[in-house]
Protein backbone atom coordinates (compact mmCIF):
# COMPACT_ATOMS: atom_id res chain seq x y z
CA UNK A 1 0.00 0.00 0.00
CA UNK A 2 1.16 3.54 -0.76
CA UNK A 3 2.10 5.49 2.35
CA UNK A 4 -0.24 8.30 3.39
CA UNK A 5 2.44 10.42 5.01
CA UNK A 6 6.17 10.21 4.35
CA UNK A 7 8.43 12.48 6.33
CA UNK A 8 11.98 12.51 5.07
CA UNK A 9 14.96 14.02 6.89
CA UNK A 10 12.80 16.77 8.31
CA UNK A 11 14.65 19.55 10.04
CA UNK A 12 13.11 22.46 11.96
CA UNK A 13 15.37 25.22 13.25
CA UNK A 14 14.50 28.07 15.59
CA UNK A 15 16.34 31.36 15.40
CA UNK A 16 17.80 32.28 18.78
CA UNK A 17 18.98 35.82 18.04
CA UNK A 18 18.27 38.47 15.45
CA UNK A 19 20.73 38.74 12.56
CA UNK A 20 22.29 41.97 13.83
CA UNK A 21 22.90 40.57 17.26
CA UNK A 22 24.31 37.38 15.75
CA UNK A 23 26.67 39.46 13.61
CA UNK A 24 27.82 41.55 16.56
CA UNK A 25 28.42 38.47 18.66
CA UNK A 26 30.11 36.71 15.73
CA UNK A 27 27.63 33.86 16.08
CA UNK A 28 27.55 32.24 12.64
CA UNK A 29 24.85 29.77 13.67
CA UNK A 30 22.20 31.60 15.73
CA UNK A 31 19.80 28.65 15.57
CA UNK A 32 18.75 25.67 17.63
CA UNK A 33 17.40 22.45 16.17
CA UNK A 34 13.89 21.57 17.29
CA UNK A 35 13.61 18.66 14.88
CA UNK A 36 16.81 17.21 13.56
CA UNK A 37 16.54 14.96 10.54
CA UNK A 38 13.47 12.90 11.35
CA UNK A 39 12.13 10.33 8.88
CA UNK A 40 9.06 8.15 9.22
CA UNK A 41 6.06 6.83 7.33
CA UNK A 42 2.38 6.46 8.19
CA UNK A 43 0.15 4.15 6.15
CA UNK A 44 -3.59 4.61 5.61
CA UNK A 45 -5.67 3.37 8.53
CA UNK A 46 -2.66 3.01 10.80
CA UNK A 47 -1.64 4.59 14.07
CA UNK A 48 1.82 5.91 14.65
CA UNK A 49 2.72 6.52 18.29
CA UNK A 50 5.30 9.13 19.20
CA UNK A 51 6.77 9.15 22.71
CA UNK A 52 9.36 11.27 24.43
CA UNK A 53 9.92 13.39 27.51
CA UNK A 54 8.70 16.97 27.47
CA UNK A 55 10.96 19.19 25.43
CA UNK A 56 11.94 16.42 23.04
CA UNK A 57 10.28 18.16 20.07
CA UNK A 58 7.05 16.18 19.64
CA UNK A 59 4.75 19.18 19.34
CA UNK A 60 7.21 20.97 17.05
CA UNK A 61 7.24 17.97 14.72
CA UNK A 62 3.44 17.84 14.69
CA UNK A 63 3.22 21.56 13.97
CA UNK A 64 5.72 21.19 11.13
CA UNK A 65 3.61 18.47 9.53
CA UNK A 66 0.59 20.75 9.89
CA UNK A 67 2.49 23.55 8.18
CA UNK A 68 2.35 25.68 11.33
CA UNK A 69 6.12 26.11 11.71
CA UNK A 70 8.56 26.72 8.86
CA UNK A 71 10.62 23.74 7.79
CA UNK A 72 14.36 24.23 7.31
CA UNK A 73 14.95 21.20 5.12
CA UNK A 74 13.60 17.78 4.27
CA UNK A 75 10.34 16.62 2.74
CA UNK A 76 6.79 16.01 3.92
CA UNK A 77 5.01 13.93 1.30
CA UNK A 78 1.27 13.47 1.63
CA UNK A 79 -0.23 10.98 -0.79
CA UNK A 80 3.03 11.18 -2.68
CA UNK A 81 3.06 14.97 -3.05
CA UNK A 82 5.76 17.03 -1.29
CA UNK A 83 4.06 19.78 0.72
CA UNK A 84 7.26 21.75 1.25
CA UNK A 85 7.50 24.65 -1.17
CA UNK A 86 3.85 24.61 -2.25
CA UNK A 87 2.11 27.98 -2.29
CA UNK A 88 -1.03 28.69 -0.28
CA UNK A 89 -3.42 27.77 -3.05
CA UNK A 90 -1.63 24.54 -3.88
CA UNK A 91 -1.45 23.43 -0.26
CA UNK A 92 -5.08 24.12 0.61
CA UNK A 93 -6.61 20.79 -0.37
CA UNK A 94 -3.95 18.98 1.66
CA UNK A 95 -4.60 21.11 4.74
CA UNK A 96 -8.14 19.75 4.88
CA UNK A 97 -6.83 16.21 4.86
CA UNK A 98 -4.69 16.67 7.96
CA UNK A 99 -6.45 17.69 11.17
CA UNK A 100 -5.01 18.35 14.57
CA UNK A 101 -6.29 17.69 18.07
CA UNK A 102 -4.37 20.12 20.21
CA UNK A 103 -2.84 19.50 23.60
CA UNK A 104 -4.97 21.11 26.33
CA UNK A 105 -8.44 21.15 24.69
CA UNK A 106 -9.89 23.46 27.32
CA UNK A 107 -7.26 26.02 26.34
CA UNK A 108 -7.74 25.54 22.62
CA UNK A 109 -11.54 25.80 22.70
CA UNK A 110 -12.64 29.41 22.79
CA UNK A 111 -14.59 29.80 26.07
CA UNK A 112 -17.11 32.28 24.61
CA UNK A 113 -18.38 29.99 21.88
CA UNK A 114 -21.00 27.31 22.30
CA UNK A 115 -20.00 23.80 21.30
CA UNK A 116 -22.23 24.19 18.24
CA UNK A 117 -20.19 27.18 17.00
CA UNK A 118 -16.92 25.50 17.84
CA UNK A 119 -17.91 22.60 15.61
CA UNK A 120 -18.87 24.97 12.80
CA UNK A 121 -15.45 26.65 12.89
CA UNK A 122 -13.48 24.15 10.78
CA UNK A 123 -16.08 24.47 8.01
CA UNK A 124 -15.89 28.25 8.14
CA UNK A 125 -12.10 28.43 8.29
CA UNK A 126 -11.76 26.18 5.25
CA UNK A 127 -14.62 27.83 3.43
CA UNK A 128 -16.47 24.54 3.19
CA UNK A 129 -19.91 25.33 4.63
CA UNK A 130 -22.13 22.26 4.28
CA UNK A 131 -25.66 22.72 2.92
CA UNK A 132 -27.19 21.81 6.22
CA UNK A 133 -24.88 22.88 9.03
CA UNK A 134 -27.13 21.87 11.98
CA UNK A 135 -27.43 18.34 10.57
CA UNK A 136 -23.70 18.16 10.08
CA UNK A 137 -23.07 19.26 13.67
CA UNK A 138 -25.56 16.75 15.00
CA UNK A 139 -23.79 14.06 12.99
CA UNK A 140 -20.41 15.02 14.42
CA UNK A 141 -21.72 15.02 17.98
CA UNK A 142 -23.24 11.61 17.42
CA UNK A 143 -19.98 10.23 16.04
CA UNK A 144 -18.25 11.04 19.33
CA UNK A 145 -21.12 9.84 21.52
CA UNK A 146 -22.31 13.26 22.63
CA UNK A 147 -26.00 14.12 22.68
CA UNK A 148 -27.26 16.84 20.30
CA UNK A 149 -28.20 18.93 23.37
CA UNK A 150 -24.50 19.31 24.15
CA UNK A 151 -24.30 21.71 21.21
CA UNK A 152 -25.90 24.38 23.38
CA UNK A 153 -23.31 24.20 26.15
CA UNK A 154 -20.12 26.20 26.66
CA UNK A 155 -16.75 24.46 27.03
CA UNK A 156 -16.51 25.13 30.79
CA UNK A 157 -19.74 23.21 31.29
CA UNK A 158 -18.15 20.02 29.96
CA UNK A 159 -16.23 17.36 31.87
CA UNK A 160 -12.63 16.71 30.86
CA UNK A 161 -13.66 13.67 28.83
CA UNK A 162 -16.48 15.52 27.07
CA UNK A 163 -14.15 18.38 26.12
CA UNK A 164 -11.79 15.85 24.51
CA UNK A 165 -14.71 14.41 22.56
CA UNK A 166 -15.47 17.86 21.20
CA UNK A 167 -11.81 18.04 20.18
CA UNK A 168 -12.19 14.74 18.33
CA UNK A 169 -15.41 15.92 16.66
CA UNK A 170 -13.75 19.14 15.49
CA UNK A 171 -10.85 17.20 14.04
CA UNK A 172 -13.30 14.96 12.17
CA UNK A 173 -15.32 17.81 10.67
CA UNK A 174 -13.74 17.89 7.21
CA UNK A 175 -13.30 14.11 6.96
CA UNK A 176 -9.49 14.20 7.17
CA UNK A 177 -7.29 11.27 6.23
CA UNK A 178 -4.80 11.93 9.01
CA UNK A 179 -5.45 13.17 12.53
CA UNK A 180 -2.56 14.37 14.65
CA UNK A 181 -3.47 14.01 18.32
CA UNK A 182 -1.10 15.84 20.66
CA UNK A 183 -1.38 14.31 24.14
CA UNK A 184 -5.02 13.35 23.63
CA UNK A 185 -5.38 11.93 27.13
CA UNK A 186 -2.98 14.06 29.19
CA UNK A 187 -4.58 15.16 32.43
CA UNK A 188 -7.49 12.73 32.11
CA UNK A 189 -8.28 10.14 34.74
CA UNK A 190 -7.51 6.55 33.72
CA UNK A 191 -11.19 5.62 33.60
CA UNK A 192 -11.82 8.38 31.04
CA UNK A 193 -8.54 7.94 29.15
CA UNK A 194 -9.77 4.57 27.90
CA UNK A 195 -13.00 6.13 26.61
CA UNK A 196 -11.16 8.60 24.40
CA UNK A 197 -8.72 6.01 23.06
CA UNK A 198 -11.55 3.57 22.38
CA UNK A 199 -13.46 6.27 20.56
CA UNK A 200 -10.42 6.96 18.38
CA UNK A 201 -9.97 3.26 17.64
CA UNK A 202 -13.64 2.88 16.69
CA UNK A 203 -13.49 5.90 14.38
CA UNK A 204 -10.40 4.47 12.77
CA UNK A 205 -12.23 1.21 12.09
CA UNK A 206 -15.27 3.03 10.70
CA UNK A 207 -13.57 5.78 8.70
CA UNK A 208 -10.15 4.35 7.91
CA UNK A 209 -8.45 7.49 9.22
CA UNK A 210 -4.75 7.38 10.24
CA UNK A 211 -3.51 8.73 13.54
CA UNK A 212 -0.27 10.27 14.70
CA UNK A 213 -0.63 10.03 18.47
CA UNK A 214 1.79 11.98 20.61
CA UNK A 215 2.02 11.03 24.25
CA UNK A 216 4.46 10.50 27.03
CA UNK A 217 2.49 7.48 28.21
CA UNK A 218 4.27 4.38 26.94
CA UNK A 219 1.50 2.04 28.03
CA UNK A 220 -0.92 3.90 25.78
CA UNK A 221 1.40 3.66 22.80
CA UNK A 222 1.95 -0.04 23.40
CA UNK A 223 -1.79 -0.68 23.10
CA UNK A 224 -2.98 1.68 20.41
CA UNK A 225 -0.21 2.11 17.88
CA UNK A 226 1.04 -0.03 15.01
CA UNK A 227 4.36 1.79 14.85
CA UNK A 228 6.18 3.59 17.61
CA UNK A 229 8.99 6.11 17.70
CA UNK A 230 11.03 7.32 20.65
CA UNK A 231 12.05 10.96 20.34
CA UNK A 232 14.86 12.74 22.16
CA UNK A 233 16.17 16.26 21.54
CA UNK A 234 14.62 16.42 18.10
CA UNK A 235 15.65 12.98 16.86
CA UNK A 236 13.94 9.62 16.62
CA UNK A 237 16.41 7.48 18.54
CA UNK A 238 14.46 4.30 17.86
CA UNK A 239 11.43 3.42 15.78
CA UNK A 240 9.72 0.38 14.39
CA UNK A 241 6.68 -1.87 14.70
CA UNK A 242 5.34 -1.31 18.22
CA UNK A 243 5.85 -4.91 19.35
CA UNK A 244 9.47 -4.85 18.19
CA UNK A 245 10.22 -1.55 19.87
CA UNK A 246 8.71 -2.77 23.14
CA UNK A 247 9.98 -6.33 23.17
CA UNK A 248 13.19 -6.19 21.17
CA UNK A 249 14.30 -2.65 21.86
CA UNK A 250 17.87 -1.82 20.94
CA UNK A 251 18.32 1.69 22.26
CA UNK A 252 19.35 2.31 25.89
CA UNK A 253 17.01 5.30 26.02
CA UNK A 254 14.00 3.18 25.07
CA UNK A 255 14.93 0.71 27.77
CA UNK A 256 15.38 3.48 30.32
CA UNK A 257 12.02 5.04 29.44
CA UNK A 258 10.29 1.69 29.76
CA UNK A 259 11.77 0.98 33.14
CA UNK A 260 10.92 4.45 34.41
CA UNK A 261 7.32 3.51 35.01
CA UNK A 262 5.94 3.04 38.47
CA UNK A 263 4.37 -0.38 38.88
CA UNK A 264 0.95 -1.17 40.35
CA UNK A 265 2.43 -4.01 42.39
CA UNK A 266 3.76 -2.79 45.75
CA UNK A 267 5.94 -5.90 45.97
CA UNK A 268 7.49 -5.49 42.54
CA UNK A 269 11.25 -5.44 42.72
CA UNK A 270 12.36 -2.61 40.54
CA UNK A 271 15.32 -3.41 38.34
CA UNK A 272 15.27 0.11 37.18
CA UNK A 273 17.78 1.18 34.60
CA UNK A 274 19.33 4.23 36.12
CA UNK A 275 18.53 7.23 34.00
CA UNK A 276 20.20 10.19 35.48
CA UNK A 277 19.16 13.77 35.48
CA UNK A 278 17.01 15.46 32.93
CA UNK A 279 16.77 16.07 29.22
CA UNK A 280 19.39 18.71 28.25
CA UNK A 281 18.31 22.00 26.74
CA UNK A 282 18.40 22.54 22.99
CA UNK A 283 20.73 25.45 23.69
CA UNK A 284 23.35 23.08 24.97
CA UNK A 285 22.87 20.09 22.69
CA UNK A 286 25.46 17.51 23.75
CA UNK A 287 28.05 16.51 21.15
CA UNK A 288 27.97 13.07 19.60
CA UNK A 289 25.06 10.94 20.78
CA UNK A 290 22.81 13.43 22.57
CA UNK A 291 21.79 10.81 25.12
CA UNK A 292 25.37 10.28 26.33
CA UNK A 293 24.94 12.58 29.35
CA UNK A 294 22.41 10.14 30.83
CA UNK A 295 23.26 6.81 29.24
CA UNK A 296 24.42 3.91 31.43
CA UNK A 297 26.29 2.37 28.45
CA UNK A 298 28.19 5.47 27.39
CA UNK A 299 31.76 5.08 26.00
CA UNK A 300 34.21 7.63 24.66
CA UNK A 301 33.08 7.27 21.06
CA UNK A 302 29.51 8.25 22.08
CA UNK A 303 30.76 11.67 23.14
CA UNK A 304 32.43 12.21 19.77
CA UNK A 305 30.21 10.92 17.00
CA UNK A 306 26.50 10.53 16.47
CA UNK A 307 25.88 6.87 15.60
CA UNK A 308 24.82 5.78 12.12
CA UNK A 309 21.51 4.01 11.60
CA UNK A 310 21.88 0.26 11.94
CA UNK A 311 20.19 -0.49 8.64
CA UNK A 312 18.32 2.25 6.84
CA UNK A 313 16.11 -0.17 4.95
CA UNK A 314 14.76 -2.11 7.91
CA UNK A 315 11.48 -1.13 9.57
CA UNK A 316 13.20 -1.25 12.94
CA UNK A 317 15.69 1.61 13.17
CA UNK A 318 17.84 2.88 16.01
CA UNK A 319 20.86 5.07 16.47
CA UNK A 320 23.32 3.72 19.00
CA UNK A 321 27.00 2.77 19.00
CA UNK A 322 26.33 0.00 21.52
CA UNK A 323 22.83 -1.35 20.98
CA UNK A 324 21.37 -3.57 23.69
CA UNK A 325 21.74 -6.78 21.68
CA UNK A 326 25.51 -6.33 21.69
CA UNK A 327 27.17 -7.23 24.94
CA UNK A 328 29.59 -4.69 26.35
CA UNK A 329 33.04 -5.99 27.08
Amino acid sequence: MEPLLEVDQLRVRFRTKGSVKALLEKDDDPFIDGVMGVSFTIHPGQTFGLVGESGSGKTTLARAVMGLVPVHSGAIRFNGKNLIGLNRGQIKPFRRDIAMMFQDPAGSLSPRLKIRSLLAEPFRIHNRMPDNLPDEIARLLKMVNLSPAMGDLYPHQLSGGQARRVGVARALALSPKLIIADEPTAGLDVSVQGEILNLMARLQDELGVSFLIITHNLAVVRHVSDHAAIMYLGRFLEQGPTQTVFHHMQHPYTQALLSAHASPDPDAVHHRIAIFGEIPSLFSRPRGCEFHTRCPRVRDVCRERFPKAADQEKAHQYFCHFPLSESLQ
Partner: protein, 322 residues
Protein backbone atom coordinates in the same frame (compact mmCIF):
# COMPACT_ATOMS: atom_id res chain seq x y z
CA UNK B 1 -1.40 1.89 69.25
CA UNK B 2 0.83 4.91 68.99
CA UNK B 3 -0.92 8.20 68.57
CA UNK B 4 -1.46 9.11 64.93
CA UNK B 5 0.13 12.30 63.65
CA UNK B 6 -3.10 13.13 61.89
CA UNK B 7 -6.47 11.77 62.92
CA UNK B 8 -9.48 12.69 60.83
CA UNK B 9 -12.82 11.49 62.09
CA UNK B 10 -16.22 11.82 60.48
CA UNK B 11 -15.14 14.86 58.45
CA UNK B 12 -17.88 16.46 56.35
CA UNK B 13 -17.17 19.54 54.22
CA UNK B 14 -19.71 21.51 52.17
CA UNK B 15 -19.37 24.31 49.65
CA UNK B 16 -22.18 26.84 49.39
CA UNK B 17 -22.88 27.72 45.77
CA UNK B 18 -25.70 29.57 44.00
CA UNK B 19 -26.93 26.21 42.75
CA UNK B 20 -27.05 24.61 46.17
CA UNK B 21 -24.83 22.93 48.73
CA UNK B 22 -21.98 20.86 47.29
CA UNK B 23 -21.36 18.04 49.75
CA UNK B 24 -17.73 17.66 48.83
CA UNK B 25 -16.64 15.38 51.71
CA UNK B 26 -18.86 13.03 53.65
CA UNK B 27 -17.93 11.10 56.80
CA UNK B 28 -14.22 10.73 56.18
CA UNK B 29 -12.26 8.68 58.71
CA UNK B 30 -8.53 8.59 58.07
CA UNK B 31 -5.41 8.34 60.18
CA UNK B 32 -1.79 9.03 59.35
CA UNK B 33 0.51 7.13 61.74
CA UNK B 34 3.96 8.50 62.63
CA UNK B 35 6.67 7.93 60.04
CA UNK B 36 4.31 6.28 57.56
CA UNK B 37 3.22 7.29 54.10
CA UNK B 38 -0.52 7.39 53.55
CA UNK B 39 -1.74 7.73 49.99
CA UNK B 40 -5.07 9.17 48.92
CA UNK B 41 -6.11 8.18 45.44
CA UNK B 42 -9.17 9.08 43.42
CA UNK B 43 -10.26 10.74 40.21
CA UNK B 44 -10.43 14.49 39.81
CA UNK B 45 -13.27 16.05 41.72
CA UNK B 46 -13.46 13.34 44.36
CA UNK B 47 -12.42 15.75 47.13
CA UNK B 48 -8.69 15.21 47.62
CA UNK B 49 -7.77 18.90 47.65
CA UNK B 50 -10.79 19.75 49.79
CA UNK B 51 -9.56 17.26 52.36
CA UNK B 52 -6.12 18.83 52.46
CA UNK B 53 -7.48 22.34 52.72
CA UNK B 54 -9.62 21.24 55.66
CA UNK B 55 -6.59 19.67 57.35
CA UNK B 56 -4.43 22.76 57.07
CA UNK B 57 -7.45 25.01 57.73
CA UNK B 58 -6.95 27.05 54.57
CA UNK B 59 -10.33 26.60 52.99
CA UNK B 60 -12.17 28.43 50.24
CA UNK B 61 -14.47 31.19 51.50
CA UNK B 62 -17.59 29.24 50.64
CA UNK B 63 -16.37 26.07 52.37
CA UNK B 64 -17.72 24.93 55.68
CA UNK B 65 -16.84 22.02 57.94
CA UNK B 66 -20.28 20.59 58.58
CA UNK B 67 -19.15 17.88 61.00
CA UNK B 68 -16.17 15.94 62.23
CA UNK B 69 -12.87 16.47 63.96
CA UNK B 70 -9.29 16.79 62.82
CA UNK B 71 -6.62 16.08 65.41
CA UNK B 72 -2.99 16.87 64.81
CA UNK B 73 -0.58 15.25 67.29
CA UNK B 74 -3.61 14.62 69.48
CA UNK B 75 -4.76 18.23 69.53
CA UNK B 76 -8.02 19.43 68.01
CA UNK B 77 -7.18 21.69 65.05
CA UNK B 78 -10.41 23.57 65.68
CA UNK B 79 -9.02 24.79 69.00
CA UNK B 80 -6.08 26.72 67.52
CA UNK B 81 -6.03 30.46 66.95
CA UNK B 82 -5.13 31.87 63.55
CA UNK B 83 -1.57 32.61 64.64
CA UNK B 84 -1.12 29.20 66.22
CA UNK B 85 -2.30 27.70 62.94
CA UNK B 86 0.25 29.71 61.00
CA UNK B 87 2.89 28.38 63.35
CA UNK B 88 1.76 24.80 62.79
CA UNK B 89 1.72 25.26 59.03
CA UNK B 90 5.19 26.77 59.01
CA UNK B 91 6.84 24.29 61.30
CA UNK B 92 4.88 21.10 61.92
CA UNK B 93 3.08 20.62 58.64
CA UNK B 94 4.80 21.26 55.29
CA UNK B 95 3.20 21.22 51.89
CA UNK B 96 4.39 20.31 48.40
CA UNK B 97 2.07 21.18 45.52
CA UNK B 98 1.67 20.06 41.92
CA UNK B 99 3.03 23.36 40.65
CA UNK B 100 6.28 24.17 42.46
CA UNK B 101 5.79 27.86 41.72
CA UNK B 102 2.93 27.86 44.26
CA UNK B 103 5.61 27.61 46.92
CA UNK B 104 8.43 29.59 45.29
CA UNK B 105 8.74 33.32 44.90
CA UNK B 106 9.96 34.06 41.36
CA UNK B 107 11.77 37.29 42.27
CA UNK B 108 13.83 35.94 45.19
CA UNK B 109 16.86 33.68 44.99
CA UNK B 110 16.44 30.10 46.12
CA UNK B 111 18.98 30.75 48.88
CA UNK B 112 17.04 33.72 50.25
CA UNK B 113 13.86 31.64 50.37
CA UNK B 114 15.58 28.68 51.95
CA UNK B 115 17.15 30.87 54.62
CA UNK B 116 13.90 32.72 55.31
CA UNK B 117 12.02 29.51 55.91
CA UNK B 118 14.38 28.74 58.80
CA UNK B 119 13.47 31.99 60.58
CA UNK B 120 12.59 30.19 63.77
CA UNK B 121 15.96 28.50 64.14
CA UNK B 122 18.51 30.44 66.14
CA UNK B 123 21.32 29.80 63.69
CA UNK B 124 23.57 32.33 62.03
CA UNK B 125 22.77 33.28 58.44
CA UNK B 126 25.91 31.48 57.32
CA UNK B 127 24.86 28.29 59.07
CA UNK B 128 21.39 28.53 57.59
CA UNK B 129 22.85 28.89 54.10
CA UNK B 130 25.05 25.88 54.67
CA UNK B 131 22.08 23.87 55.86
CA UNK B 132 20.11 24.96 52.80
CA UNK B 133 22.98 24.00 50.49
CA UNK B 134 23.29 20.58 52.10
CA UNK B 135 19.56 20.08 51.71
CA UNK B 136 19.77 20.99 48.01
CA UNK B 137 22.46 18.39 47.52
CA UNK B 138 20.41 15.91 49.51
CA UNK B 139 17.56 16.28 46.99
CA UNK B 140 19.92 15.79 44.06
CA UNK B 141 20.94 19.33 43.12
CA UNK B 142 24.70 19.34 42.98
CA UNK B 143 26.87 22.34 43.76
CA UNK B 144 24.27 23.49 46.31
CA UNK B 145 26.13 26.47 47.73
CA UNK B 146 26.49 28.23 44.39
CA UNK B 147 22.99 27.25 43.18
CA UNK B 148 21.60 29.14 46.20
CA UNK B 149 22.20 32.36 44.27
CA UNK B 150 19.99 31.26 41.37
CA UNK B 151 16.36 32.26 40.84
CA UNK B 152 13.56 29.70 40.40
CA UNK B 153 13.37 30.27 36.62
CA UNK B 154 16.97 29.12 36.30
CA UNK B 155 15.89 25.60 37.23
CA UNK B 156 13.86 23.07 35.23
CA UNK B 157 10.41 21.98 36.42
CA UNK B 158 11.78 18.79 37.94
CA UNK B 159 14.52 20.68 39.75
CA UNK B 160 12.01 23.19 41.12
CA UNK B 161 9.97 20.38 42.56
CA UNK B 162 13.11 19.03 44.23
CA UNK B 163 13.69 22.49 45.68
CA UNK B 164 10.18 22.70 47.15
CA UNK B 165 10.72 19.29 48.71
CA UNK B 166 14.01 20.50 50.17
CA UNK B 167 12.27 23.57 51.57
CA UNK B 168 9.43 21.51 53.00
CA UNK B 169 11.89 19.28 54.83
CA UNK B 170 14.18 22.07 56.08
CA UNK B 171 11.72 22.85 58.86
CA UNK B 172 11.70 19.18 59.92
CA UNK B 173 7.93 18.85 59.86
CA UNK B 174 5.99 16.12 61.62
CA UNK B 175 3.72 15.84 58.60
CA UNK B 176 4.44 16.45 54.95
CA UNK B 177 1.41 16.85 52.72
CA UNK B 178 2.06 16.41 49.01
CA UNK B 179 -0.81 17.26 46.61
CA UNK B 180 -0.13 15.63 43.22
CA UNK B 181 3.57 16.55 43.38
CA UNK B 182 4.53 14.45 40.34
CA UNK B 183 1.48 14.96 38.14
CA UNK B 184 3.08 17.59 35.93
CA UNK B 185 6.32 15.65 35.49
CA UNK B 186 7.48 13.11 32.93
CA UNK B 187 7.56 9.50 34.08
CA UNK B 188 11.36 9.55 34.18
CA UNK B 189 11.27 12.46 36.63
CA UNK B 190 8.25 11.08 38.48
CA UNK B 191 10.09 7.91 39.46
CA UNK B 192 13.11 9.99 40.48
CA UNK B 193 10.94 12.13 42.77
CA UNK B 194 9.21 9.08 44.26
CA UNK B 195 12.58 7.48 44.96
CA UNK B 196 13.73 10.71 46.54
CA UNK B 197 10.65 11.03 48.75
CA UNK B 198 11.09 7.43 49.86
CA UNK B 199 14.74 7.94 50.77
CA UNK B 200 14.07 11.21 52.52
CA UNK B 201 11.18 9.75 54.45
CA UNK B 202 13.42 6.99 55.76
CA UNK B 203 16.00 9.57 56.86
CA UNK B 204 13.71 12.21 58.28
CA UNK B 205 11.04 9.89 59.64
CA UNK B 206 8.20 12.33 59.06
CA UNK B 207 4.70 11.18 58.22
CA UNK B 208 3.55 11.84 54.66
CA UNK B 209 0.05 12.31 53.31
CA UNK B 210 0.48 11.79 49.58
CA UNK B 211 -2.28 12.69 47.16
CA UNK B 212 -2.36 11.43 43.60
CA UNK B 213 -4.72 10.22 40.93
CA UNK B 214 -1.93 7.98 39.68
CA UNK B 215 -2.37 4.51 41.17
CA UNK B 216 1.06 3.16 40.36
CA UNK B 217 2.82 5.97 42.13
CA UNK B 218 0.70 5.30 45.21
CA UNK B 219 1.58 1.60 45.01
CA UNK B 220 5.25 2.34 44.94
CA UNK B 221 5.44 4.93 47.68
CA UNK B 222 2.76 4.35 50.28
CA UNK B 223 2.27 2.15 53.35
CA UNK B 224 -1.47 2.78 53.63
CA UNK B 225 -3.94 3.83 50.97
CA UNK B 226 -7.38 5.45 50.96
CA UNK B 227 -9.51 5.32 47.82
CA UNK B 228 -11.90 8.23 47.38
CA UNK B 229 -14.93 8.44 45.15
CA UNK B 230 -17.25 11.45 44.88
CA UNK B 231 -16.50 12.75 48.36
CA UNK B 232 -16.39 9.43 50.19
CA UNK B 233 -13.56 7.20 51.28
CA UNK B 234 -14.94 4.00 49.75
CA UNK B 235 -12.03 1.75 50.71
CA UNK B 236 -8.88 1.91 52.80
CA UNK B 237 -6.21 -0.53 53.84
CA UNK B 238 -2.53 -1.31 53.63
CA UNK B 239 -0.97 -0.83 50.23
CA UNK B 240 -1.09 -4.61 49.73
CA UNK B 241 -4.75 -4.79 50.72
CA UNK B 242 -5.62 -2.24 48.08
CA UNK B 243 -3.43 -3.53 45.25
CA UNK B 244 -3.49 -7.29 45.93
CA UNK B 245 -6.94 -7.73 47.51
CA UNK B 246 -9.11 -4.80 46.46
CA UNK B 247 -12.65 -5.19 47.79
CA UNK B 248 -14.70 -2.28 46.53
CA UNK B 249 -15.98 -2.52 42.95
CA UNK B 250 -14.72 1.01 42.29
CA UNK B 251 -11.17 0.17 43.40
CA UNK B 252 -11.24 -2.96 41.28
CA UNK B 253 -12.44 -1.12 38.19
CA UNK B 254 -9.90 1.61 38.67
CA UNK B 255 -7.07 -0.92 38.85
CA UNK B 256 -8.35 -2.71 35.76
CA UNK B 257 -8.45 0.50 33.70
CA UNK B 258 -4.71 1.07 33.89
CA UNK B 259 -3.28 0.21 30.46
CA UNK B 260 0.09 -0.63 32.00
CA UNK B 261 -1.34 -3.69 33.78
CA UNK B 262 -2.86 -5.15 30.61
CA UNK B 263 -0.26 -7.50 29.16
CA UNK B 264 -1.77 -8.38 25.80
CA UNK B 265 -1.94 -5.41 23.44
CA UNK B 266 -5.54 -4.34 22.93
CA UNK B 267 -6.98 -1.44 20.99
CA UNK B 268 -10.00 -1.29 23.25
CA UNK B 269 -9.30 -0.51 26.88
CA UNK B 270 -11.52 -1.06 29.91
CA UNK B 271 -13.31 2.04 31.20
CA UNK B 272 -15.73 2.98 33.97
CA UNK B 273 -18.73 4.19 31.96
CA UNK B 274 -20.80 7.07 33.28
CA UNK B 275 -20.07 10.18 35.27
CA UNK B 276 -19.60 11.08 38.92
CA UNK B 277 -22.99 11.89 40.48
CA UNK B 278 -23.86 15.48 41.34
CA UNK B 279 -22.61 16.35 44.80
CA UNK B 280 -25.52 18.76 45.20
CA UNK B 281 -28.17 16.15 44.53
CA UNK B 282 -26.72 13.01 46.03
CA UNK B 283 -28.31 9.70 45.08
CA UNK B 284 -29.94 7.62 47.78
CA UNK B 285 -27.94 4.55 48.73
CA UNK B 286 -24.47 3.75 47.38
CA UNK B 287 -22.55 6.63 45.83
CA UNK B 288 -21.09 4.35 43.12
CA UNK B 289 -24.43 2.82 42.04
CA UNK B 290 -24.67 4.54 38.62
CA UNK B 291 -21.34 3.17 37.46
CA UNK B 292 -21.17 -0.14 39.31
CA UNK B 293 -21.32 -3.36 37.31
CA UNK B 294 -22.69 -5.24 40.36
CA UNK B 295 -25.46 -2.83 41.37
CA UNK B 296 -28.60 -4.39 42.92
CA UNK B 297 -31.85 -2.91 44.20
CA UNK B 298 -30.56 -2.59 47.74
CA UNK B 299 -27.69 -0.38 46.50
CA UNK B 300 -30.18 2.22 45.33
CA UNK B 301 -32.02 2.24 48.65
CA UNK B 302 -29.54 1.92 51.50
CA UNK B 303 -26.04 3.33 51.90
CA UNK B 304 -23.63 0.41 52.23
CA UNK B 305 -21.94 -0.19 55.60
CA UNK B 306 -18.16 -0.08 56.04
CA UNK B 307 -17.19 -3.74 55.98
CA UNK B 308 -14.03 -4.86 57.80
CA UNK B 309 -12.04 -7.04 55.46
CA UNK B 310 -8.86 -7.20 57.51
CA UNK B 311 -6.92 -5.52 60.30
CA UNK B 312 -6.63 -2.21 58.50
CA UNK B 313 -8.82 -2.98 55.53
CA UNK B 314 -12.38 -1.65 55.15
CA UNK B 315 -14.63 -1.05 52.16
CA UNK B 316 -18.16 0.31 51.83
CA UNK B 317 -20.21 -2.12 49.75
CA UNK B 318 -23.30 -4.23 50.38
CA UNK B 319 -21.78 -7.31 48.84
CA UNK B 320 -18.62 -7.70 50.85
CA UNK B 321 -18.27 -10.03 53.80
CA UNK B 322 -16.14 -9.60 56.90
Amino acid sequence: MTQPVLDISNLCVNYQTPKGTVQALRHIHLQVPPAKVVGLVGESGCGKSTLISAVIRLMAENAHVAAGKIRFMGLDMQGFSASELRGIRGRDISMVFQDPMTALNPVLTIGRQMVDIQYRDGLSRKKKRERAARMLERVGISDGLSRLDNYPHQFSGGMRQRITIAMALLVQPKLLIADEPTTALDATLEVQIIRLLKDLQTDFQCAILFISHHLNVIAELCDYVGVMYAGELVEKGTVRDIFHRPGHPYTRSLLECDPSVIEEPTRFLPTIPGDIPSLIDLPKGCIFQDRCAHVMTVCRKTPPPAVHLGDHHTAACHFLEE
